[in-house]
Amino acid sequence: MRDEKLRILVEGALMVAVAFALSFVKVFHLPQGGSVTLGSMIPILLFSARRGTGAGIMAGTVYGILQFIVEPYFVHPAQLILDYPLAFGLLGLAGLFGEDILKGTLLGVFGRFVSHFISGVIFFAEYAEGNVYAYSAAYQASYLVPEFIISVLVLRVGLYNLVKKSNI
């Protein structure tokens, strides 16, 4: 008898590890450097599509917490929650559309965007008037849009077969 829950848990953990491994292998060098880790959302998105929203949110949250432990970037308590566990946890929303990768990825990345966006607004709202929203949105979009494009392309073209549970 196979324990499906345990399999999902272990698979999620391994996906988090793959995400980390990908974030260390620097395939892409972006001018602003720093936290841009292209391709590292793919494992979480793939896992969410494969095993459902709940499992995806858990894996994303774990990835967020570990990301904080390994390289903390911290300026405000609300930002800590919004930028780490919540932002990555929301990636799990990709599971809502099942095997429809395009919609799922769009929703998951949008969830992450919203979380980082609010965090940015909270932080800057104290100072600037009006354009805080535009500033935060532009900044988050600057790295999330390329990440989104890459994730969708790779998931649709290369990894589509892995989304189905029956394979492997």
Binding site: L9, V10, A13, F20, A21, M58, I65, I69, V70, F123
Partner: protein
Amino acid sequence: MIGGGAIMGQYYPVLSPVHSMDPRAKIIIAVVFMVVLFIGNNFWAFLVMGAFAALAIYLSRVPIRLLVRGLRPVLFILLFTLVLHLFLTPGPVIFQIGPAKATWAGLVQGLFVGLRLVILIMFTSLLTLTTSPIELTDGLEDILKPFARLGVPAHELAMMMTIALRFIPTLLEEAERIMKAQMARGADFESGNIVKRAKSLVPLLVPLFVSAFRRADDLAMAMEARGYRGGEGRTRMREFHLALRDYLAFVYLGVVTALVIYVRIKFGPVITRPL
């Protein structure tokens, strides 16, 4: 090897009273101190909070240069905050650049807010510098356990974190090996536009994912064979026990909190705006 950095995080392994504290106590103290930092709003409060942080740093035997390094990523935010406060706080003017007036009140406010940020970051870094990721994970599990009844999957989260930490170096090595193997076959990971690069990731990702799924399958089966049945009634090789030093730390924190609240009521704010 980069993988070592990944599993160890920022951990700086030495023997010190702070290192040997119970990780649960350290996490709770870090969280409470974070709140206290936002209650403190005048000179005296910063003196008390600064002294507490300094004592913790001194006792931890972590070189100060490592803590300062943690400030590097937020340097821009730090300067930005200082400048904004300097020019946007009304009051007597120090100097003027065009329409922007730098004020004394702004300088003081900027320095305080900057100092709060510095203490905040140094203190959080201290937590990850003195506690290994595995200890943090186990501590977090224990702290979240009371919320399990509300549906927080405390044990599952901690288990996932532990397994992930264990396999990051393995999978990193695997990713590097696959990349080299594909490059030997003529794969090009480093040029072209975004679409071309996305496509070039496929020959790396397919084998990496397939191997990760197989590993997960094997591991799940191995765990099941050894009788793993989830968190209920599971014991640990090393259990945490609160020792005298943990209670002392709680007492210090209690005193600091009380003092900060006292001086807040007694002397009123210097910082008028939050962070």
